[in-house]
């Protein structure tokens, strides 16, 4: 008697769950998810759609839409000779910055995970590049490298490493290399902290077990620590790839005055199309290309590395 009412209820509930399509469920959920959805559409998808729409229009320099041109703006990009160099440089930029960032962060996180006097202080210090504005950090280096009054140039000359000050920010290769260095510097805090958080989730008994089994330091690191860091590293790398690809301020400050397109990445070229050439349509087309490149990189990365897979 007491069991009777329960049985029918479970049987009626089961099929509903299994079907799971009822629009009633959706209607019930809507009030709760609607604000988030509106936000996603208004802030994420709507601008992306406008960007794609703009990339197929002919927009005058004063911002007047002169109608559709299909994919002509993309053709303009293909016909632009330096574009291949720009794409290659974007690749070098992303790979170099992310690689150095991750390698240095791994070491830094290991250090910060050890107990030593003043660790709190060092941990705070690592955050500074993060807390400072990227433009400020870059400008400090930029002025330091100035051939007329930069202290870095001055120091190099006084140390007899250089005979005369060198225009580091005036030549494509050196400006680009310094930019990579700055980008690594400002990417370190986030990456280090992500990895540090990962390190702290590794239970101590795993190390004890390794010690009992006679694993050396090197072996312990590569066989135990690194695999455990998989998901932390995956997040760090993925976010860094996207961030670094989309990074404008460092290159804009460091390479902005260099003529031609020998130090440009996709981002700075988009910026030049907008700021110098006032070609919003072509800039939109290049933005779409950049957007697709990031999507493809992320897709390949997720597919190959399977970051979400459990260890």
């Amino acid at each position: 008697m007491t069991n009777a009412p329960i049985a029918p209820e479970t049987t009626t509930r089961r099929p509903r769950r299994a079907a799971g399509t009822s629009s009633k469920d959706l209607m019930l959920a809507l009030p709760w998810i609607a604000p988030a959805l509106v936000l996603i559409f208004g802030v994420v998808l709507f601008p992306a759609a406008v960007m794609f729409y703009n990339s197929t229009r002919d927009i005058s320099q004063s911002g007047v839409d002169r109608g559709s041109v299909g994919f002509e703006n993309y053709q303009t990009l293909l016909d632009f000779d330096p574009i291949w160099g720009v794409l290659a440089r974007t690749f070098v930029w992303v790979v170099a910055v992310v690689l150095f960032t991750v390698l240095i962060s791994l070491a830094l996180a290991q250090l910060l995970n050890k107990a030593f006097p003043g660790r709190q202080l060092v941990r705070m210090a690592v955050i500074i590049p993060w807390a400072a504005s990227v433009v400020m950090t870059t400008l400090v280096v930029y002025y330091g490298l100035d051939p007329f009054y930069g202290i870095i140039n001055e120091a190099l000359v006084q140390l007899n490493i250089l005979d005369v000050p060198y225009g580091f920010t005036k030549n494509a290769v050196s400006a680009f290399t310094w930019s990579i260095g700055i980008a690594v510097f400002v990417s370190l805090p986030f990456t280090t902290y992500t990895i540090l958080a990962g390190l702290q989730t590794i239970p101590a008994d795993v190390f004890e077990a390794a010690k009992i089994d006679g694993a050396g330091r090197r072996h312990t690191y590569f066989a135990i620590v690194l695999p455990q860091l998989r998901s932390a590293l995956a997040v760090a790398i993925l976010i860094n790839i996207i961030n670094v690809f989309n990074s404008l301020p460092i290159l804009k400050v460091m390479t902005g005055s260099i003529p031609g397109y020998d130090a440009d990445t996709v981002m700075t070229l988009i910026f030049k199309y907008i700021q110098t050439d006032h070609k919003i349509d072509v800039a939109s087309a290049l933005s779409v290309v950049g957007f697709i490149i990031v999507l493809v990189i992320v897709a390949i990365y997720v597919k190959v590395v399977k970051p979400m897979k459990e260890v």
Binding site: F148, I258, P259, G260
Partner: protein
């Protein structure tokens, strides 16, 4: 399959919701302000004082016309074009803008002809050469706001140390630059050649036009010409023979003028505000202002004018805009504005007021010989952009002919 239908439904709902939201956003701003009249004024910042100067003008104007309010928006020069383009795209163009090139806006039929928004007296007061450079065909679209011209600033001490006179021709300039570089002073160079992107078109114009070339006119942009090639080749010669600072192709104008002010550059093309900057930053600098050296030694200067322009928004603002322009161009208001910013006036009455200012004399004297950018050509913006991003390659050893061909091609593309 079923899951995707559900997602589809969610997507559609959200899309409709966000559309509804955004359309609300679009509609409410344009219908605002029915009763009192207001005009939006978008201006770039020439100096730290620009905002205050405009605020004074507006305060005076609003006192005289209490029924009109002026909304001031100040932007940096770097952002000005992006801001106005975005505003035009969103149908929210300012009523009055202070800017450089206006031909693009005129070509898109966004501007009032000046005759619609000024009184005859105001219009008649502009100097003729400025009216010409502010007109497309016979229609004047820009109200010349400020004029500026270039002249050569020389560091007397460095020239004396190198034993050279202020140069009059290109050859003099080359020799003087080499002589100062030969002194071997640390971080001190002969001719400051700013071909970096900031204002490469100005330095190029000084050389091209000073060698008898031109950038073209309202109908055709002509960069790839024998005269310009000769000038471009000479620029490269200046660099190759070591008469300039290093990395000229990537050196921007403003920082290089600062180096001149510090006393480490022998000669550089400067503007009227440079005089004020020297007074402020290094009043001890022993310098002179001399005419720009040209190929033959003939007088020449590059004139630049910035303009005010009025956008066609709501028809009923024409009256308010006219009142504002007429108020602003009264000699008392206008001359104070221009001289505080350190530029030259474009009105006849303004020129008369300043005729005996010793600092501005060299610039005012040069104005009759001034040549202007072909800024009424619809392709000028593209040409300007091409110079900014490409001409610096001359200093990096690229073949001058190739550089000119590239600039011409980018200019023709529009």
């Amino acid at each position: 399959m079923k899951k995707s239908i559900r997602i589809g439904a969610v997507v559609a709902t959200a899309a409709i919701a966000s559309m509804a939201l955004s359309s609300c956003g679009f509609s409410d701003s344009s219908s605002g302000g029915g009763g009192s009249k207001s005009i939006d004024l978008l201006v770039p910042s020439y100096s730290d004082g620009t905002q205050g100067l405009w605020e004074d003008v507006i305060a005076g104007f609003e006192k005289e016309y209490p029924d009109i309010t002026v909304n001031l928006e100040v932007q940096s020069w770097d952002n000005l074009n992006d801001v106005v383009t975005t505003k035009v795209q969103g149908d929210k163009a300012p009523d009055i803008m202070n800017g450089g090139p206006f031909a693009g806006f005129a070509a898109d039929d966004l501007l009032y002809p000046v005759s619609d928004v000024t009184s005859d007296d105001t219009r008649a007061d502009f100097q003729k050469s400025f009216v010409d450079s502010a007109s497309v065909g016979d229609t004047q679209y820009g109200l010349p706001l400020i004029a500026s011209s270039r002249t050569l600033f020389v560091n007397n001490d460095l020239l004396a140390q190198a034993g050279v006179e202020a140069p009059k021709t290109w050859d003099d300039l080359l020799a003087a630059g080499k002589a100062i570089n030969a002194l071997g002073l640390p971080s001190t160079y002969g001719y400051g050649l700013p071909l970096g992107s900031e204002e490469a078109q100005a330095e190029s114009a000084i050389w091209f036009m000073g060698g008898g070339g031109t950038f073209g006119d309202a109908d055709a942009i002509t960069i790839d010409t024998p005269e310009n090639l000769e000038a471009a080749t000479f620029i490269q010669k200046m660099v190759d023979e070591g008469a300039t600072q290093p990395d000229a192709g990537a050196t921007d104008r403003t920082p290089l003028i600062d180096v001149f002010i510090q006393g480490n550059i022998g000669m550089i093309e400067g503007l009227p505000p440079t005089v004020g900057q020297i007074e402020e930053k290094n009043p001890d600098l022993n310098y002179s202002m001399v005419p720009i050296p040209t190929k033959t030694g003939d007088a020449f200067t590059l004139g630049v004018a910035d303009h005010l322009m009025a956008f066609k928004n709501d028809g009923d603002k024409k009256d308010s805009i006219t009142k504002f322009f007429d108020y602003f161009y009264q000699p008392d208001v206008y001359v104070n504005w221009v001289t505080t910013e350190g530029f030259l006036p474009t009105t006849i009455s303004g020129g008369e007021q300043l005729a005996d200012d010793p600092k501005l004399k060299v610039f005012l004297d040069a104005l009759p010989d001034a040549q202007f950018y072909p800024s009424t050509n619809p392709n000028w913006s593209a040409t300007d952009a091409a110079f900014k991003s490409l001409v610096g390659q001359l200093a990096q050893g690229k073949d001058p002919q190739e550089v000119l061909t590239e600039i011409q091609a980018k200019s023709d593309e529009g």
